[in-house]
């Protein structure tokens, strides 16, 4: 642990917002700087390491046609040059210090993660605060990274049946909302994004008032807050335009799309419209997911893979998003079976639940599985930081990650049945049916 410097107090520019205790081991605190930067601390003294995550409240949702993919593209550019560090220095310093570094972009967020030995805390704050305000770009860097991003798109989408199908699903499930385009962007936009686009994006969204820093690990609170204040306290807030994101109209008709792909066997995706992450029905939808797909005894896994034996794999999940999103089902069929067989079974099982309330014991099983999965996601300092950062960014409050677990106890079999009847209906879904190309 970094030694406590005697006499240190919480700096005046940082105000405590709240704290939260979960069980006997977890105690979290949230702070805010005058410039709007939020900081969440989650101590873990078991190993002399820490995770430092910077979550920016920007994702592909904030893009528009013509610059789709810029949020992800910019994530790559954040590893380039700043006024204080030449290209490659950021990564070199952190890797030399034994750090694990990465970043990710999605619909609603972009985050930068580092896990480091405790002695590097000062360094990471210095480096991250620097690139929050001092990134510089030139055409050479932009074009070199453009090639990397285009190759990433070839890898994740153009040569991947999975990527191609998910792109098609979101493209058609969302006609107005910005979830319509892929996070990695259309290839034509990747090829045309320019320096001006990038710098405008950076100036607006990479600012303290649009970020949350999550720190988990073997660190002393006072030292952490002093360090954060000294490196981030003077960064000015930016003016962030009011989001101009179109509301997706209610889907009233099933959308069905067919694709021929370089696949070994048929595969089907079903995306049902569900509310935003903060909606009161989301924990119930998580239970529904568990009931149908979590574990070998779950209803649809068992029916599709074990009982009827038409599928090789069957999975599903609720995509937790800031705006209404999707409950996704993904089934890979065995050769000789077709997508419609899987869709019929899905419909049968949803109808069965709509007609018959599940047993309390079945629901209890799902709750236990969710509890196990919750603990399974909190193994390392990096796991913990990710979960906290995700909830703070998407839900607006990190405490929801713990509260959801407690809320499960209140959900009744009738609630689960009602959620199934409300959300898991054909008129709210988009279906992508992929079949192997004739040559495959």
């Amino acid at each position: 642990m970094i030694p406590l410097c005697s006499g240190l107090k919480i700096p005046l520019m940082i105000q405590k917002v709240n704290d939260f205790q979960f069980g006997t081991h977890y105690h979290l605190e949230k702070f805010k700087l005058n410039n709007g930067l939020q900081v969440i601390l989650f101590p873990d003294h078991s190993v002399p390491v820490f995770a430092h995550h910077t979550w920016f409240h920007v994702g592909s949702r904030n893009e528009r046609e013509g610059i789709t993919g810029i949020a992800h593209f910019f994530e790559h550019l954040m590893f380039k040059e700043t006024t204080n560090y030449k290209e490659g220095e950021f990564v070199r310093l952190l890797e030399e210090a034994g750090g694990k570094i990465n970043a990710a972009t999605y619909l609603d967020w972009t985050f930068y993660r580092q896990s480091l030995p405790v002695e590097s805390f000062d360094m990471i704050c210095k480096l991250e605060s620097d690139r929050m305000q001092n990134v510089i770009l030139n055409d050479k860097q932009l074009n070199s990274e453009r090639e990397v991003v285009a190759n990433e798109r070839r890898f994740r989408v153009d040569n991947s049946p999975t990527g191609t199908m998910y792109e098609e699903l979101y493209k058609h499930a969302f006609s107005k909302h910005s979830y319509h385009w892929p996070v990695i962007g259309w290839m034509k936009d990747i090829e045309s994004i320019d320096l001006d686009d990038c710098m405008k994006f950076y100036k607006q969204y990479y600012a303290p008032n649009n970020a949350t820093i999550v720190i988990v690990g073997d660190l002393d609170k006072d030292t952490v807050l002093q360090t954060i204040e000294s490196y981030y306290g003077d960064i000015p807030a930016s003016e962030i335009e009011k989001e101009n994101i179109q509301t997706e109209p209610e889907q009233t008709k099933e959308i069905v799309l067919d694709q021929e792909l370089e696949l070994s066997s048929p595969r089907v995706l079903l995306g049902y419209k569900v509310p935003q992450a903060t909606h009161k029905d989301i924990p119930t939808l998580e239970l529904l997911h568990s009931l149908f797909f979590s574990g070998r005894s779950s209803r649809l896994y068992r029916r599709l893979v074990h009982q009827d034996q038409i599928a090789t794999s069957a999975s599903g999940w609720v995509n937790h998003t800031k705006n209404p999103g999707l409950f996704i089902i993904d089934v890979t069929l065995k050769q000789g079976h077709n997508c419609q067989e899987a869709i019929d079974i899905v419909d049968e099982e949803f109808t069965r639940l709509a007609e018959q309330v599940p047993e309390e014991s079945e629901l209890q099983k799902c709750k236990t599985r969710i509890e196990t999965s919750f603990w399974g996601q909190l193994k390392t300092v990096d796991d913990k930081a990710q979960s906290v950062g995700f909830h703070e960014t998407v839900y607006g409050d990190y405490r929801t990650m713990f509260e959801e677990i407690n809320q499960l106890a209140q959900i009744t079999p009738k609630d689960v049945q009602n959620a199934c009847k409300t959300y898991l209906v054909p008129q709210h879904r988009t279906v992508v049916r992929a079949t192997p190309k004739a040559t495959s």
């Binding site: 990564v91 034994g98 074009n143 999975t162 574990g295 890979t332 236990t368 599985r369 196990t372 909190l378």
Partner: protein
């Protein structure tokens, strides 16, 4: 976190890695045999036996067993490797005794029903077919086959459609009776655990498995490849390729293994600063990722480079990779500062090797299987520090070959094969259809 050592409990070797911040327990029962015992014509037999253990026993049908495990919030899986079978579970601490009781049931009285074997056979064949969608996996599979040729390591642990179709229920019963014994079983626990849990596991194995000896197996070392062999895996409509370049290398037990570890970290580790990543991605933008790795197995170790450029860049990317490889070998690629960088990284990132009890347990088991010393983890930092740049350059010729290597490329033949051949002039070219790899 303290690194525990293996302890003898009755006839079993056991290890306990304790951390109590989450109410979770992971356990591993490790059997000292694996797909290495499969008859050639029945490859996949050990894997089938392992999977069938979870498909019914005297007290539970498959369905009842799955219901029970989900009710407990438990995961229970059987993993088959070339030299081991491990039964692994994870569960909330409060339900641990119940999970051990279930493991006792499935080991004492597996039913091995004919119908379940047939289901499993068809499922496994269908899953093998799904591998056709994984371009990287197909390129690696072709690489392994060419590298290991007739050796066991050229096979798939899960077998293939032909061999799976030859496995009978009598084979399954006989295989189980022969190999699933108390002989040399190892027990590992991690998480919110106690010695009483080890006792419980040990008693369970004693109760449910016979105390019969299993013959120790030795194998020839894997063959050395000869010449520069290009294996081209042809798949239609690819706009991007995946390629592997590699050859056999030093085992982890070799006295110079740390020299090689540091050298390959500097040259092709999973670091942004590694030379290979810098040359392929950062300088040229040819691929999203470019790195090298080592597969260590009991009887062979293999080193390879991997990347995935677009078609137009593939021939140049392979040629550049080979040039980099040669420069690395003749000592002109890496400088002392690169070696020092790799040493710093490996030394300082060490805490992340031991930051969860599950990671420590996995490493202790892996090291045991490879025959590494008990203090491998504890002595890691010292061994890294002891390596000198001069020592590495003196021994570098031993780590790399001149021309004896395998290059496997997955792509669309008509678009790129002739370009590649022209650029790299392989000694042999072998063209395989991607569907033949399952």
């Amino acid at each position: 976190m303290k690194i525990p050592t293996w302890q003898k409990f009755n006839q079993f070797e056991t290890i306990l890695v304790s951390k109590k911040d989450r109410p979770m327990v992971k356990f591993v029962l490790l059997f000292p045999f694996g797909a290495d015992r499969d008859p050639v014509e029945k490859q996949g037999l050990t894997n089938i036996v392992g999977d069938l253990l979870l498909r019914g026993c005297a007290s539970y049908t498959r369905t009842q067993l799955e219901d029970k495990l989900d009710e407990l919030g438990a995961s229970l899986n059987v993993f088959t490797g070339f030299h081991s079978v491990s039964i692994e579970g994870a569960i909330l601490k409060r339900n641990f005794p119940e999970l051990v009781r279930i493991v006792q049931e499935i080991l004492s009285s597996p039913t091995f029903e004919e119908a379940e074997l047939e289901h499993l056979r068809q499922e496994t064949i269908a899953q093998l077919r799904m591998r056709l969608d994984d371009d990287q996996g197909l390129a690696k599979s072709a690489f392994n086959r060419q590298m290991y040729q007739d050796h066991t390591y050229a096979r798939e642990v899960v077998g293939n459609a032909q061999t799976l179709n030859k496995i009978t229920i009598d084979d399954v019963k006989k295989h189980f009776a022969t190999y699933f014994t108390q002989n040399d079983v190892k027990i590992g626990l991690s998480g919110d655990v106690s010695n009483a849990m080890i006792d419980l596991c040990a008693m369970t194995i004693t109760r449910c498995l016979p105390d019969t000896k299993v013959e120790t197996l030795t194998m020839p070392a894997a063959v050395q490849c000869k010449g520069k062999t290009l294996v081209f895996v042809n798949k239609p409509d690819r706009s991007q390729t995946h390629f592997f370049i590699g050859h056999p290398t030093l085992p982890l037990t070799d006295q110079h293994a740390y020299d090689f570890l540091i050298f390959k970290t500097a040259f092709s580790g999973s670091l942004f600063q590694a030379k290979y990543m810098q040359e392929i991605r950062v300088k040229r933008g040819w691929s999203y990722g470019a790195y090298g790795s080592t597969d260590h197995r009991r009887w062979a170790s293999m080193y390879y480079l991997y990347t995935f450029p677009k078609n137009d860049d593939t021939a140049d990317a392979i040629a550049t990779s080979l040039d980099l490889y040669q420069s690395a070998k003749n000592g002109s690629l890496l400088e002392k500062q690169d070696i020092d960088f790799a040493k710093h990284y490996l030394y300082k990132s060490f805490p992340f090797k031991i930051d969860t009890p599950g990671k420590i347990l996995s490493q202790k088991i892996h090291h045991k299987l490879l025959g590494l010393p008990e203090d491998y983890i504890e002595s890691f930092r010292h061994n890294v520090e002891s390596v000198s740049a001069d020592g590495i350059s003196e021994r570098i010729q031993d780590y790399f070959t001149d021309n004896d290597m395998v290059i496997s490329v997955l792509g669309t033949k008509d678009q790129i094969l002739s370009n590649i051949e022209e650029k790299i002039k392989p000694d042999h070219t072998i063209i395989v259809d991607y569907e033949s790899l399952i």
